[in-house]
Amino acid sequence: MNAEQVLFWLFSVCTLVAASGVIFARNPVASAMSLVATFFFLSGIYVLLWAHTIAALQVLVYAGAIMVLFLFVIMLLSLTDSGPVLHFTPSRIAGGVAVIALFVSLTAVFRKLPTAELTWVGDAAKLKNFGTIQHLGEVMYTQWLFPFEAVSLLLLVAILGAVVVAKPRI
């Protein structure tokens, strides 16, 4: 087992443990903090995938900005403990069955994937650049120009929509 594999297992196990914490923690603030931990460990996995920029953005945007919003919402709602949440209703049982079915089918799909080890096929110069901001910027503004512009339209529409929906009453 080389260092990369050790790191992979470390990050992935910690991601799963922290993600479980998000669901199982009774205290909403503890739940939100587990989410921060999940984002951090996930960004470690991104680094292992050579996606340094994505990893940095993950920490900045998700663990930073978005989590602050989460905490604000929790603070504003001032949630109180409303008793045990784990009781079984037909819809919850159906939901559980659906989750298990999805998990089983996804496992079946992933078991069919080729098992041969993935090897890097690009040249060394590309490898050096891959995942850097320069590389990302070049790809985004040359190869992916049209989707990039479409996203700016989407953001404008989303802002306008949010303003309209947030108005008290029209």
Partner: protein, 519 residues
């Protein structure tokens, strides 16, 4: 680094979108800088923008089909005609909104801006040729319609509708994205042309992955076109949304999602046993046609009835899609069944031209009819009843013919067109689609389609019976008057009859070869 080289040619297909977006931004800013009390000018700006955009789209429709913008978009008559029809629908919906919002004292530039953004999203969706672009454009269109659904929040229904639409729409979009990710995993490409080239090999290597991806993409689209069994959200959302928005959703959103679905699946069925897509689409068409009509049958609420009827109409369009994927070579003497393709002549002819013509003409017919029907309802709604929820009861239409004969005649015309009675455009649309299906050998499905549309005639005619043969209740509402609403309804009515009698050159334009890029 390769610097992309664009020519003016590349921007032809997105020019209508550019016009719509520019007008939307002007409208958005008009709300900030102009504080006029009358805001009908906003509707006029929006209507003019949709006319200009539609004109450019019609002009584009005669360009040869090709890939543009680095392969992210296509310029083909199929998408251009769809854009033109979306612009027609937006034009009518904007005019309907002007009177509707004025009556409710709720005219805002944002409303028209969102409508134009939604139209831009629909146009972009119909010309997307790559999965990420497709997803983003689907979201542009969806986010705009979520906000429009919750625009007027009076009473509990609009908020419920907006929230339900948002949650389920986001869920459907996530399914589509997940499917696209799995297909990317299998083929290593997101551009539809490259995906279709890589699919046969990917299918041979890991069929389960491809099947899972295709299934998820199909489920995402089926949500958007409201095909049974993915239709649950439709009646609640259509009922809760402001009626002109419902009209735009039933016509434009559905048309754009249909066109995107057809385009995507024409590329995605490469290397797969042709029986599978055919069976899946036939089953969806069967369930949607029968389910939509049966669910509409007991509705006394006319707006809800029209929501279910829009599901049924999606079923007829799915019948056309199933005909497109019908296996081309079938053994003579195979059994005639509901789902089996058995051409009357032994070998099926290529029906794709007839199907594209049928689909486009159906979309055109449904756009004008549905805008007209929802428009008449919107004029009859009373503001003070919004919170009570009986605004759209059949009783409200009783005796309309004595009080307002013109309105009753227009509504009757739209109902007949929805039911598929000649000489309306609804009849011709059904005729084109069903005859294409029969030519492809889908005799059983076409018979089911005709029978289920006969069920439909019952609940459409019930509205006509109430209007012409029941006495008016004492507190019967009078339609509000606004010249834009009347202009929209007259335009719809003229188009419903005009296209029904003289389809003329339009059917010739719709049936040119080279309609869809790559096919």
């Amino acid at each position: 680094m390769i610097i992309p080289h664009f020519t003016l040619n590349d921007f032809l297909p997105v020019m209508p979108v550019g016009v719509l977006m520019a007008a939307a931004i002007v409208l958005m800013l008009s709300e900030v800088f102009l504080t006029s009390t009358t805001r009908t000018y906003q509707a006029i700006i929006a209507a003019l923008a949709s006319i200009v955009a539609g004109g450019i789209a019609v002009n584009n429709a005669f360009e040869p089909a090709r890939l543009v913008l680095q392969g992210y978009a296509v310029l083909d008559p199929f998408s251009s005609w769809t854009t033109a029809m979306v612009c027609l629908g937006t034009f009518l919906a904007v005019l309907l909104s002007a009177g509707f919002l004025k009556h409710r004292n709720a005219e805002r530039g944002e409303f028209y801006a969102l409508m134009l953004f939604a139209a831009a999203g629909m146009s972009l969706l119909s010309l997307s040729a790559e999965f990420i672009t497709l997803f983003i454009n689907l979201e542009v269109l969806s986010v705009a319609t979520y906000a429009l659904t919750a625009f007027l929040r009076r009473g509990p229904r609009p908020s419920e509708a907006g929230f339900k639409y948002f949650i389920l729409g986001a869920f459907a979009a996530a399914l589509l994205l997940y499917g696209a990710a799995l297909i990317y995993g299998a083929t290593g490409a997101t551009k539809l042309v490259e995906v279709s080239a890589a699919l046969p090999a990917a299918f041979a290597k890991s069929p389960a992955l491809v099947y899972a991806g295709l299934g998820l993409v199909l489920a995402g689209f089926a949500f958007k076109v409201a095909a049974v069994p993915f239709h649950m959200w439709t009646p609640d959302v259509y009922e809760g949304a402001p009626t002109p928005v419902t009209a735009l959703m039933s016509a434009g959103v559905k048309a754009a999602a249909f066109v995107a679905m057809v385009r995507t699946f024409l590329f995605l069925v490469k290397g797969i046993d042709p029986v599978i897509p055919f069976t899946v689409f036939s089953l969806l068409a069967l369930l949607t046609m029968v389910g939509g009509n049966l669910l509409a049958l007991p509705q006394r609420n006319v707006k809800r009835m029209l929501a279910y009827s829009s599901i049924a109409h999606a079923g007829y369009m799915l019948l056309g899609v199933a005909a497109l994927f019908a296996p081309k070579l079938v053994e003579a003497g195979a059994k005639v069944g509901v789902l089996t393709a058995t051409p009357l002549t032994g070998t099926a002819q290529d029906v794709s031209v007839a199907v594209y013509k049928g689909l486009l003409f159906y979309i055109l017919g449904y756009t004008v009819t549905s805008l007209g029907a929802f428009g008449t309802i919107s004029a009859l709604e009373r503001r003070e009843d919004e919170t009570r929820g009986n605004t759209w009861d059949l009783e409200r239409f009783a005796g309309l013919a004595q009080r307002k004969p013109g309105w009753a005649a227009a509504m009757a015309l739209f109902m007949l067109s929805l039911g598929g009675v000649p000489p309306t455009v609804g009849f011709l649309g059904k005729l084109f689609l069903f005859s294409a299906a029969v030519d492809a050998g889908l005799l059983g499905l076409a018979i089911v389609g005709v029978l289920s549309s006969v069920i439909g005639v019952y609940f459409y005619l019930r509205v006509v019976v109430y209007m012409f043969m029941r006495p008016a209740p004492i507190d019967a509402p009078a339609p509000f008057r606004h010249w834009t609403t009347e202009l929209a309804l007259v335009t719809s009515a003229v188009l419903v009859v005009g296209l029904g009698i003289l389809p003329g050159t339009i059917t010739e334009w719709f049936s040119r070869v080279g309609m869809v890029f790559g096919h």
